[in-house]
């Protein structure tokens, strides 16, 4: 079975998101080195790797929170490496966070509405007066969110609840809702099922597939749950110590000895294959 050489994206139609040779360092610590891969429009791509491999740093770089030392990030053909973070949302990059980043002082509905911020037009004067444009925009926003997002994610019963009162699983779902409100073309999910039980994980997996099917949204996710990764993804990118060590289809990546070594160190390759294939819990910390 062929595994793609690391750092080089598979050849096909121009990818929606292209990460090219990105290097990121904090002081002396190299978080990412020469990371490159492409995300095809309409695909579900997963980024996996042991803890500390640089997955969240990668997401933060794509979001615009970190500026890479070298390399480029291209979205819809446009170089966005220097584009400030707040503007990337308007371009169509949506995102959820690893540790839930909901705004605790607001209700579920307000949190979701915030996702749409970059696309709204109300300015201060409109807001203070709340006649005409502000009122119309708010009403349209509310209608859109109710019909497309709240129903879709089945959170209508908690729409007015303060987010701080919700259990973890529902908070994650609200976070997803807010990311959807961003009207993203690519949805970046940072560990969407972390801490969830079997049932919640399956619900979330179903949502992700539906998001792709009904909304036409491309999904890029960081995930540790191997079962989910293998079942859902079209393409998998494996990071270790800030470098891409493999990428390809789930099958290809599963069989890649580099990947196995990264997760298990030098151990029984066959045993890990079986564990990965069976969708076992989070792999062990690698010690290559």
């Amino acid at each position: 079975m062929e595994t793609h050489p690391p750092g080089i994206p598979p050849a096909s139609a121009p990818p929606l998101l292209q990460v090219d040779g990105v290097t990121l360092a904090f002081g002396g610590v190299k978080a990412l080195t020469g990371v490159g891969f492409g995300v095809q429009a309409g695909s579900i791509t997963a980024v996996i790797g042991p803890n500390g491999a640089g997955k969240t740093s990668l997401f933060n770089t794509i979001s615009g929170f970190y500026r890479p030392g070298s390399g480029a990030i291209r979205f819809k053909g446009q170089d966005i490496t220097r584009v400030p973070a707040p503007q990337r949302a308007r371009l169509g990059l949506g995102r959820s966070f690893q540790n839930i980043a909901l705004f605790r002082g607001m209700t579920v509905l307000d949190n979701i509405k915030l996702g749409r911020h970059a696309h709204l037009k109300t300015n201060v004067l409109d807001a203070l007066l709340y006649i005409g444009r502000a009122r119309r925009e708010e009403a349209a926003l509310r209608a859109d969110i109710e019909e497309r997002i709240i129903d879709f994610l089945e959170i209508d019963h908690i729409r007015h609840a303060p987010v701080s009162a919700l259990p973890y699983g529902l908070q994650k779902r609200v976070e997803m809702a807010r990311a959807l409100a961003m009207q993203p073309e690519i949805l970046m999910l940072d560990e969407p099922v972390a801490g969830m039980n079997r049932e919640e994980t399956e619900d979330m997996a179903r949502f992700i597939l539906d998001v792709r099917a009904e909304w036409g949204v491309t999904v890029l996710m960081v995930e540790h749950d191997m079962g989910m990764v293998m079942d859902l993804s079209d393409h998998v990118v494996v990071l270790n110590f800030g470098q891409v060590i493999a990428q390809g289809t789930p099958r290809e990546v599963q069989a890649n000895p580099e990947v196995i070594r990264a997760y298990l160190g030098s151990g029984d390759v066959g045993d890990l294959r079986a564990r990965l294939h069976a969708g076992a819990a989070t792999p062990l910390q690698g010690a290559a």
Partner: protein, 293 residues
């Protein structure tokens, strides 16, 4: 033609005054190092120490060797009470909340002092040598000189203690992560109390000296604003920064006062504050906090 002798004299006075700032700043840093609390009532705690000394030395006419420790211990007690009643309950709340509690505390202390002793200015009993100090041709007021000496001695002592006592590490551990500190066996509440008690006692010493020089009044707390600038310049959690910052601010204030006019003192201090906040918010020696996404 520049009057160098005058400049030297002013600078000397400024640096000595700065020593006092440094001592009060030390009290501030003590609390911040251990509990991450910005205590804006530090000037008022200083004032209470001075007033306690006044009560023991003047009203009760106790001899010096009793009055000073009594005032210092009394302040320490106050520090413990403050920590227990209004700081500890706010553990885990955002730092802004605790800061606002100290704002309220400052108000309460000023009001209490005014109620008990009225807003009038008073003089403290003399206890420092009165022989004028001459360095070359420059005159230095004896109280200012001796005050600075005591202040610097204290700071040196604290610096040494922190260097060689493992409690210094405990202090910093408690400030940065209470849960972790607990789990390695540090008695976190005791560290908190200790920090506030020691801070209050140092503030009391500072207050006694400052009061001896300029008299005491219910508006003494405004000293705390200059101390705030000192700790921002020096770094909120740095003892060395308190010293250097104190001397620096003392110098700047004295120069501004001499060359521009008395009303420019506080203005100069605040302009320095704004400049430092913009250029180097963590101060000369403070530790830089990094936010994780």
């Amino acid at each position: 033609m520049m009057d160098w002798a005058y400049l030297f004299e002013i600078s000397l006075t400024g640096i000595s005054g700065g020593g006092l700032y440094a001592l009060a700043a030390l009290a501030f840093v003590m609390v911040y190092k251990a509990t991450r609390v910005v205590n804006i009532a530090i000037g008022e705690m200083l004032m209470v120490g001075a007033y306690l000394f006044f009560t023991f030395a003047a009203t009760f006419a106790l001899p010096l060797w009793l009055a000073i420790p009594a005032a210092v211990l009394g302040s320490g007690l106050l520090g413990a009470v403050i920590e227990r009643t209004m700081i500890r309950p706010l553990l885990g709340e955002p730092p802004i909340s605790v800061f606002m509690v100290t704002v309220g505390l400052a108000s309460v202390l000023v009001g209490l002092v005014e109620m008990i002793w009225t807003a009038d200015q008073r003089r403290l009993p003399e206890f420092m040598p009165t022989k004028p100090i001459m360095i070359g041709e420059a005159f230095l007021a004896p109280k200012v000189f001796w005050g600075a000496v005591i202040a610097v001695a204290f700071i040196a002592a604290v610096l040494l203690v922190f260097r060689f006592w493992r409690g210094g590490v405990a202090l910093r551990a408690t400030a940065s992560d209470q849960a972790a500190a607990y789990s390695v066996g540090i008695n976190v509440p005791r560290v908190f109390s200790l920090a506030w008690v020691v801070s209050a006692m140092i503030a009391a010493v500072s207050g006694i000296i400052v009061g001896s020089i300029g008299g005491i009044s219910s508006s003494m707390g405004v000293f705390g604003l200059s101390v705030l600038v000192v700790v921002i310049v020096g770094g909120l959690d740095s003892v060395l920064g308190a010293l250097i910052g104190g001397l620096l601010i003392g110098l700047i204030e004295a120069l501004a006062g001499a060359y521009l006019g008395g009303e420019y003192k506080l203005l100069a201090t605040f302009i320095v504050l704004v400049a430092v906040l913009l250029v180097r918010p963590y101060g000369l020696f403070g530790t830089h906090e990094i936010e994780r996404l």
